[in-house]
């Protein structure tokens, strides 16, 4: 894979650093401060859940990490490289090693399920048509979607769309995965299945993941650490047990409301 090799060369400098380090991140929209000095470090193979009420900047944090938005200040280091003020070509090389599952899956609605998964492979690899199809088929099969290759995104359910979105995010073998509300809008059984998939990916691929969610108890099942945001700041960063035992009134109330 062309881009993968380039990325490997680039990441040599940051080989001893955690794959994802966010420091002092600020972001405002007009007069509204969304992030107000967020610090977050995610170690290799670690799954971190970012929690918080709606409008606390959780999704904005993910969009900043992947370069869809620019922070006002602060740094985001991915494999040792600060992505905040780099050129688009360099950013794209880093993006190839990041998978992103959007809240509504964001599948290309004019392409079939299989074509959606093939899309990044067509653009960034030299695989033959057969090799691409095999890879897309294998990925979709690993997520239980092998029977729906020729369906259009509008013909499958929300849970299935998320699986296809996940397969597409995994197509280029990323080593960082970002999930934006992966279980929102899903029934409890499908939400639990998505949680199990996150655990499976962590075990099988040693994936570094950041999962934005408001589902504390869902996060307990797949996250190593939980980070709670409030008014653009990290209130607490710890295990589920540490959150439960926290004396902070906001954390206590949040856990109570989530119960």
């Amino acid at each position: 894979m062309r881009a993968g090799n380039t990325m490997a060369d680039q990441s040599k400098n940051g080989r001893n650093e955690a794959p994802l380090v966010v420091s002092g991140l600020h972001k405002s929209f007009g007069s509204q401060k969304v992030l107000n000095g967020v610090d977050l470090t995610v170690a290799r193979g670690e799954t971190v859940a970012v929690l918080g009420k709606s409008g606390m900047g959780k999704s904005v944090l993910l969009k900043l990490i992947v370069g869809l938005q620019q922070p006002d200040s602060g740094s985001i280091r991915i494999h040792g490289q600060d992505i905040v003020r780099i050129g688009m070509d360099q950013l794209n090389e880093i993006r190839i090693k990041i998978g992103f599952l959007f809240q509504q899956a964001a599948l290309y609605d004019s392409l079939t399920v299989e074509q959606n998964v093939e899309f990044p492979l067509v653009r960034h690899t030299t695989l033959s048509n057969e090799e691409r199809k095999k890879k897309a088929h294998d990925l979709l099969a690993s997520l239980g979607m092998e029977k729906d290759l020729d369906k259009m995104p509008s013909d499958i359910s929300g849970g299935m769309q998320k699986r296809v979105g996940l397969a597409r995010a995994l197509a280029l073998d990323p080593d960082i995965l970002l999930f934006d509300e992966p279980t929102s809008g899903l029934d409890p059984i499908t939400a639990a299945e998505i949680g199990q998939l996150i655990v499976k990916l962590k075990k099988e691929r040693n994936m570094t993941s950041v999962v934005v969610t408001h589902d504390v108890h869902g996060a307990k099942s797949f996250a190593d650490r939980l980070v709670l945001l409030r008014e653009g700041k990290v209130v607490i960063d710890g295990t589920f047990g540490q959150l439960e035992k926290s004396p902070d009134p906001f954390v206590v109330q949040f856990m109570k409301d989530a119960a």
Binding site: N92, Q103, Q104, A106, L107, D109, R123, R168
Partner: protein, 215 residues
């Protein structure tokens, strides 16, 4: 190119045909009043190839294709498909916009030819119903004083219209905000702005052609 070119063909040909008929009906009386009825084929042909055909094609395509591009890209924007493309390290401006702009640029002159041809044909049919004449005679009368400068620059000026339609509607679609309501706004503004810019560009281009490609 299929979506922009061949799928716009029936509409453009119909609009051209209607223009040809209207030109024939409207100008016949005026020319008869001034004793210049023999000029009718030339008036129809010159009106169509120099102005009516290109402008009508531009406006029809801006309505059909501009709205389509604005709505399609707008819908992709609000459903985060364009974000997904960026995250996949694919430049959406290159992948989605440049292909559409290029298709508009290339298809407009071809569609203009279709509008011109159907307009001239229907202009002849309308004329021959009141004053029978062969198509050969009609074309001979209409084209005998025409030069390439009467035909080529007005046809190729529609490439500029194609660029306007492509750029304006892609820009409007890409900057869509505000869900389905925003998609509707993008489709509308794509049509309104590209039509307006086509009319304004026509004024400049006509003067440009008169200066650099005199008949």
């Amino acid at each position: 190119m299929d979506a922009i070119g061949s799928k716009s063909f029936p509409l453009v040909a119909l609009a051209g045909a209607a223009t040809g008929v209207v030109l024939s009906l409207q100008t016949r009386d005026s020319l008869t009043r001034f004793g210049a009825k023999a000029m009718l084929p030339a008036v129809i042909v010159f009106s169509l190839i120099k102005e009516s055909g290109p402008v009508i094609t531009g406006l029809i395509v801006s309505g059909r294709v501009g709205a389509g591009i604005g709505a399609e890209l707008g819908s992709m924007r609000v459903t985060e498909q364009i974000d997904a493309m960026e995250v996949s390290a694919v430049n959406p401006y290159k992948f989605l916009a440049s292909t559409r702009v290029l298709a508009c640029f290339l298809m407009l002159p071809l569609l203009t030819l279709a509008a011109d041809a159907s307009g001239i044909l229907m202009g002849w049919i309308s004329t021959t119903l009141s004053q029978p004449m062969t198509l050969q005679l009609f074309l001979h009368s209409g084209l005998k004083n025409a030069t390439l400068n009467d035909f080529l620059p007005p046809t190729f000026k529609t490439m500029v219209y194609g660029l306007i339609i492509g750029f304006v509607s892609c820009f409007q679609g890409m900057r869509t905000r505000g869900g389905t309501e925003g998609v509707g706004r993008s489709a509308t503004s794509s049509v309104v702005l590209s039509s307006l810019f086509i009319i304004l560009a026509d004024v400049i281009l006509v003067r440009f052609i008169q200066v650099f490609f005199p008949s």
